[in-house]
Symmetry: none
Subunit: 207 residues, 4 copies
């Protein structure tokens, strides 16, 4: 008996080459559940979202969901921040243009109805669920910090960014200010905000 059949294999371990005996999982169910989650998050808050409702909307059942995800938080996390998110770095020619582009992309991801509804809830559950904490930071790191390291290094060597500034600093500034602005101003962040904030950050990291 393989370990995979004892410890349920969540989506992240797809590279394990188990013999895959028995009835294979219906590929469509996972997608339907993720779609239903996003839909429902556009209609109600994270707290008001129940797994039963998701299952019903997706036309499936609760066990099928818990076979795929560790819990509600993990499901929502994957639904709102899919792994497919590209991490291509911006290249507008100027530092401020790039920062502006980063802000725009961050804002685009976070101001989705689903993200707006989910983020606070996910943040709330991070405290009690270390697994989720890791998962969220991992995604955050992958998307932003990871690819950013090279960018920051290059910019530093060009002299556009003063030494000492790390990728984490930049990511923190971009994500932190976007997040708080969304919380306080409520998803209504226009181009003006992006420009003003980009200017602030760019000046902040310049030599």
């Amino acid at each position: 008996m393989s370990v995979a059949s004892v410890t349920p294999t969540y989506v992240t371990v797809s590279f394990v080459m188990t013999t895959e005996i028995g009835r294979p999982r219906d590929r469509g169910i996972g997608d339907a559940v993720l779609r239903a989650t996003v839909e429902l998050l556009a209609e109600c808050s994270y707290a008001d979202l129940s797994v039963d409702t998701i299952a019903a909307r997706a036309g499936t059942s609760k066990p099928a969901i818990y076979r795929r995800w560790r819990g509600k938080a993990h499901l929502v996390h994957e639904a709102v921040f899919p792994r497919t998110a590209t991490t291509e770095l911006p290249d507008t020619g100027s530092l401020e243009g790039d920062v502006r582009e980063m802000l725009r992309r961050t804002l685009m991801v976070l101001s989705t109805p689903a993200a707006l509804a989910a983020l606070p809830g996910l943040v709330g559950e991070m405290a009690s669920d270390p697994t989720l904490h890791t998962a969220l930071l991992e995604r955050f790191g992958d998307v932003l910090v990871g690819a950013l390291t090279d960018y920051v290094d290059a910019a530093a060597q060009r002299g556009d960014i003063r030494p000492g500034i790390t990728a984490a600093d930049l990511a923190e500034a971009v994500a932190g200010m976007t997040f708080l602005a969304l919380l306080t101003r409520g998803a209504l962040l226009d181009e003006t905000w992006t420009e003003r904030t980009a200017r602030l950050i760019t000046k902040g990291i310049s030599p």
Copy 2:
């Protein structure tokens, strides 16, 4: 019969000159409940905190709590961010010193065990409870933005801050970066972080 006796008054609007008929609320109960809440939040997460437990620890009862607060979230909010918070502005002589002081104070408030445990939960409930959203922003605005306006104006006139930067911008930068850093790095923000971040923000808002 006054309206106040029908719709329970959660937040005492002290300027209303009601005759205050009937047995007055035991002032000590509210305090004991707030104290108990802060204590318990140092021991468990927001989600694991139950109203029953708070009541028991405070030596009172659930109805007594629900007479005073609309729900768990509101109680926690008031316990963690009391109205008594002073908003005195820093005055170190230099802009960067002041920003550093703002970061330090924000960090001090947010890195309390109680705040660390409560914040994610509160943010999570903001989505479903507009009342709480208002209350939280109001406190945030009172404490930070409100008093900051004069500071930013003065600094702008002195030429320390470039025109166009608002108090909200500064507050957003300070709170946003602190919040995100706490989430990602987990309460372990040393003096180095404060200095680095202060430098970033200061440069960002300078002319």
Copy 3:
């Protein structure tokens, strides 16, 4: 300090000649409360009747009620079965006529909207409250059994009732059958029922 001021004096001990210092009780309040109770019992069941509601309807307050009665059950008991009930015995000339009259009177008392609503509730509380048990039986005994003793004795001596039949037997038959009929048939007991039941009881106690 008289004992009466320590142990509150409920209605039953009115013959105690206390000095009655302080503000005398408002005589009208008791009546208003009793009236309100009867009214409300015509609109809802005993369980759905709250002391707060009674106080509001009577235009008084809860403490004023608890100063007069030991609790809800005692109040309802007195409201539904007032002490003023006369116990005059029937005298129709025939035993069967007399029994029929007893049934009619019992039915009249018990089929009041208030009585119908209150009786089950009172019976329910008898179990846990011995005081109420005593009070209810006392009233029952006063009204029915007490006066009945002489009647049964006389009838026995006339030869209308066979020896061995006691007043309690007769009362039990009359009240028991009426009570159960009310419970099962629900207050719709016509004259036919009265006659049939009177015939049964009369034959049952005849020589």
Copy 4:
């Protein structure tokens, strides 16, 4: 989706040939709950009996109970008057012997510690809960009146009972007098009482 899965089925209508999808109810839980209820009713009154306590004693949870019964009253009703009650008619050879036997059986059922504790409470809740009213009368009717109809008919044809007397009359007399005697005399009804009452009823229904 069948209607049965929407409206919870409290009383199993066993003749309906549903496919019984989903996890079947644990048969043992229902039994344990009923047993616990009877046990607890021997120790405290109906009013002092809480669903939480029952759940704890039965080793199960409150939701599991509310899945099976509409509320406390219905649960107690079924616990105290199980559907298994036999309705075999007595056959002692004489009318008076049969009536005496009916009284004895009624008394046996009603003077159980559980029944004594529960009956008043149930009667009390009948008023506010029509469903319970129906359920109680149904059981009463099933057990007593139903089977009695044939008996009364046969006795009437033999000339033992005068025409006009119905099964309901007889049931009313037996149950009513027993019930009231229990209420007033408190469970201490000896054989003498049974005999005296049997004689009264027998004479009452004889030609």
